[in-house]
């Protein structure tokens, strides 16, 4: 009888030893993992931190600031009064999820870590200013708001910049997120949901995502032909319904499946205005892979554009690869196949045309100011590279102006302003086409007259689906930004 009783006792003791093991596992061995889980609300630090400097727009709207925490005067809470409007440009700073955007790339100015260096300590001892500095961005609150509303709930990006300086005036990516939600009480779960969201709301599509550029790439193909002296706007090309690609079964046809002009001959100018694939595929093969890639790399392809935010390099295959494959060259020349571009890169292509062939280095921080509001340093506009000759630039500017006047980009027109642009409708396997527009204005500005270049991409046709084109979907968005700039 006591044998069974003892066995029962042993079983219960064994069960308790299992409990000892499990609590050791949970509290000691695996404990740090639970403790540091971003969803563990005990990490109180997410709410507060050290003071960071304010961030304002070019027109002095405060878009990020630190306010003292209620319960501890030494701690500060970060606030983003415009919510998701500046999500991708400004980013966020959160103990749980680190930081992003300007908050990350300019953390040095925004935090007062100067006081940890010897000079900083001395400075502090001598009564100098050790509070963090603030940043004034180049973004314009009106343009940012208009661009955000124009893109609406369509996945994609809008980026606007000053072609003469490289100052970024608007930077929009959708879907976005509210940086405040990564600081609030539910920050842990919100952050994990954002990171796992298949739509990637955290990704800045304006600089950190590449798309097939489609016909917008014809700006580069035309540049290659012009700069290499192979063509002029009046050069004529054959005008077939379908262009047969040598050495392959495939053909290239125009968007509507029709001839470009009269079925006999078409000029480069006509082809550019109507965005004819047959002509530009032919031009691409005439230019050849090496020269086409060389031109693209002059614009900044295959390298990371220096910028205040993370940038994905726009990509084009190597010249030798294209030289060996004429059909690939033809498709690359019309922005299909393996060529991939960020909206930023396409904005810079437009900027090159607008600025006599020179691409200015894009920047987002106008100046850095101290806690007293005194400007400490400001960004000097800097030439990044020459993409094309001034002559080619002025020829392309005229061609692009005709696109808006009488071609595929008519819906980007702003009354009274000379607007130039190029549409793109990039075919993507398995989904609706990406709608592109790159435009600028005014064409040939008088000295001192402000100018702007806008690039718009709407993923998978946006709200228009399969019927979307660059001219119908992306151009009207750019038009609103242009109109707001000139209005």
């Amino acid at each position: 009888m006591n044998v069974a009783l003892r066995r029962a006792a042993y079983v219960l003791f064994a069960a308790f030893i299992v409990l000892v093991g499990s609590s050791t596992w949970i509290q000691a061995i695996n404990g740090p993992e639970y403790r540091d889980d971003p969803r563990n609300p005990r990490v109180v630090a997410w709410r507060t931190g050290r003071e960071r400097g304010p961030i304002v727009t070019a027109d002095q709207q405060v878009i990020a600031f630190s306010s003292p925490a209620e319960d501890d005067a030494k701690l500060f809470q970060r606030e983003y009064p415009f919510g998701d409007l500046y999500a991708h440009a400004v980013g966020y700073t959160s103990v749980l999820f680190g930081s992003r955007g300007i908050e990350r790339t300019h953390a040095e100015e925004l935090t007062s870590d100067r006081d940890s260096t010897i000079s900083g300590v001395l400075n502090g001892l001598l009564g100098g200013d050790t509070r963090p500095r603030g940043l004034r961005l180049t973004l314009d609150h009106t343009l940012q708001t208009v661009a955000t509303e124009a893109l609406g709930e369509q996945k994609g990006a809008v980026i606007a910049l000053d072609p003469e300086t490289g100052a970024v005036l608007a930077l929009v990516s959708f879907p976005a997120f509210d940086p405040n939600s990564l600081i609030g009480a539910d920050a842990g779960q919100t952050g994990i949901d954002l990171e796992n969201d298949p739509d990637e709301p955290l990704r800045n599509r304006a600089t950190d995502e590449t798309y097939s550029p489609g016909s917008v790439f014809k700006i580069l193909t035309a540049t290659s032909g012009l700069d290499n002296g192979l063509v002029s706007p009046s050069s004529t090309f054959p005008d077939p319904v379908e262009l047969e690609l040598p050495g392959s079964e495939s053909t290239i046809s125009n968007f509507d499946g029709e001839v470009c002009n009269d079925g006999v001959a078409v000029t480069l100018e006509q082809a550019f205005i109507r965005s004819c694939n047959t002509t530009f595929a032919q031009l691409g093969m005439d230019v050849g892979g090496n020269r086409l890639v060389e031109t693209a790399e002059d614009f900044g392809f295959n390298e990371i554009i220096p910028f205040d935010l993370p940038v994905l390099a726009s990509a084009i295959p190597s010249g030798s690869e294209l030289e060996a494959n004429l059909p690939a060259t033809a498709q690359t020349a019309i922005g299909q196949r393996d060529v991939q571009s960020t909206p930023l890169q396409m904005a810079l292509a437009g900027a090159a045309v607008a600025n006599g062939g020179v691409i200015m280095k894009p920047y987002l921080v106008y100046d850095v100011f101290t806690s007293d509001g005194v400007v400490e340093s400001s960004t000097a506009p800097e030439e990044w590279r020459r993409a094309m000759s001034p002559a080619s630039a002025s020829v392309l500017a005229e061609l692009m102006e005709q696109v808006v006047v009488s071609g595929t980009g008519r819906r980007a027109a702003v009354p009274g302003i000379r607007i130039a642009g190029k549409t793109g409708t990039a075919q993507v396997t398995g989904q609706a086409p990406h709608a592109w527009f790159v435009g600028f204005g005014p064409v040939a500005p008088s000295p001192g007259e402000p100018s702007i270049v806008v690039a718009v991409v709407v993923e998978s046709g946006g709200g228009f689906g399969e019927s979307a084109t660059g001219g119908s979907v992306a151009a009207p968005i750019a038009q609103q930004v242009l109109a707001a700039f000139f209005g």
Partner: protein
């Protein structure tokens, strides 16, 4: 251990509770206040009174039980106080009542001994089963059942002139009554049940009519599970039946068939009940069910992981973030604020109670007292294991209180009565 040492340890446990309350107050910026004094007084009076009753009416009773229970109650009380001061005030009253109940039990049995309970075993069974079914009383009646968190295991008594209904969990009391019945039933039938009627392979089967209790066990557990959605209590009852059958007969047949029935019932319940399914899924992958079924488990893991080895310190953690931290998940609250050290102390406390209880049972010569002591010990040990294993992710969560530590008057009263019965049994067997 002498009675004097026992008294000293009880005073020490009361001091632990009082110092814990003092630390909580200190972390809130307060100095010594009435709460500290009142807490010390309540613990000293409750366990002191039971000890006096033991000296008077069960002088040979084990001296291990009271200090250990007092210590566990103190640890639990500190966390209840830290999470919700109002609940702690109620818990102090419950503790006094529970102490009174224990004293009452010792007084009633002072001359007759526990043997008198055998005489009333069917009355006790009827009352126990009646208590189990009490929560099924319709809501409109003055004494009626109440559903809390999806489980119907409460009874409310609406008294005229009281704006707050009296409520208690009859299941807690029922488990004591059913244990007494089982001990007495088995004391009579054990021999018949352990004789071999037929052999099938390695299994020695008793006469079919002696299997009857097994089916009662399964049936009762199933009924509770189905109608009251009380997984913890049904598991406890079932485990108690199987353990006592095995202890009484020494036949592993009962354990094996009990195991099969449990597995079968588990599978049926998994297929039939959404809430069982959700709990099992949340057990397997609590983080995957973070926002719903797994929330409580994950919050407990966060709490215990944050507690690490030495804990955040009393009053310095956030056990209030764990749902049901004062009842089912009181262990997670202790683990957070007192760390792995506190967890081990609690586990050691229960192990000591179980060891002392089995010691009493093993030393008992009388069948009934042996079975009673082992049954009561199994009730405390198994109940502690069921909820701790749920909190510590050894098995799915089945809501049940942690003896002596969870907030709740019914639970305290039941466990103090168990303590009183164990003390009485040990006193009678010492002679």
């Amino acid at each position: 251990m002498t009675r004097r040492a026992e008294a000293g340890l009880i005073a020490a446990a009361a001091l632990v509770a009082a110092v814990g309350v003092g630390i909580v107050e200190f972390t809130r910026g307060n100095w010594l206040n009435a709460q500290v004094v009142v807490t010390f007084a309540v613990f000293a009076i409750t366990f002191g009174a039971v000890q006096v009753a033991v000296r008077l009416w069960a002088p040979g009773g084990s001296s291990l039980l009271l200090p250990t229970a007092a210590f566990l109650t103190a640890i639990g009380f500190i966390e209840i106080y830290r999470i919700d001061g109002d609940l702690a005030a109620v818990q102090r009253w419950s503790l006094l009542i529970a102490g009174g109940a224990a004293v009452g039990v010792l007084w009633v049995l002072r001359t007759s001994g526990v043997a008198v309970l055998r005489r009333y075993r069917y009355v006790l069974l009827a009352v126990g089963v009646g208590f189990l079914l009490l929560p099924l009383l319709p809501d409109a009646w003055p004494i009626h059942g109440a559903t809390v968190n999806g489980s119907r295991l409460w009874v409310r008594i609406d008294l005229p002139g009281l704006d707050r209904a009296l409520s208690f969990q009859p299941g807690e009391i029922a488990k004591v009554l059913i244990t007494i019945f089982l001990a007495s039933y088995l004391a009579e039938r054990a021999e018949a049940m352990s004789t071999v009627h037929r052999k099938i392979g390695p299994f020695k089967l008793p006469e079919p009519r002696h299997l009857f209790p097994v089916f009662i066990a399964a049936g009762a557990a199933f009924a509770v599970l189905t109608y009251q959605r009380d997984l913890g209590a049904s598991l406890l009852l079932f485990g108690l039946f199987v353990a006592m059958l095995y202890i009484a007969t020494g036949r592993s047949f009962y354990v094996i068939s009990g195991g099969f029935i449990a597995i079968g019932a588990g599978l049926v319940a998994y297929g039939a009940f959404d809430h069982v399914q959700r709990r099992i899924e949340a057990w397997l992958d609590p983080f995957g069910h973070f926002s719903d079924a797994g929330y409580q488990t994950v919050q407990a893991l966060f709490a215990m992981g944050s507690g690490a080895l030495t804990g955040s310190g009393i009053g310095l953690g956030r056990p209030d973030l764990i749902p049901a931290a004062t009842t089912d998940f009181i262990f997670a609250a202790v683990a957070e604020e007192m760390g792995l050290a506190g967890s081990f102390a609690v586990l050691a406390g229960f192990a000591l109670l179980v060891a002392a209880g089995f010691g009493i049972a093993i030393r008992s010569r009388d069948r009934f007292r042996k079975y009673l002591a082992s049954g009561l010990t199994v009730v405390i040990g198994l109940q502690a294991f069921i909820i701790l294993a749920g909190v510590l992710r050894i098995m799915p969560i089945t809501g049940i209180t942690l003896p002596f530590m969870s907030y709740g008057g019914s639970s305290l009263v039941a466990n103090m009565v168990i303590l009183a019965l164990l003390l009485k049994v040990s006193d009678e067997e010492r002679v």
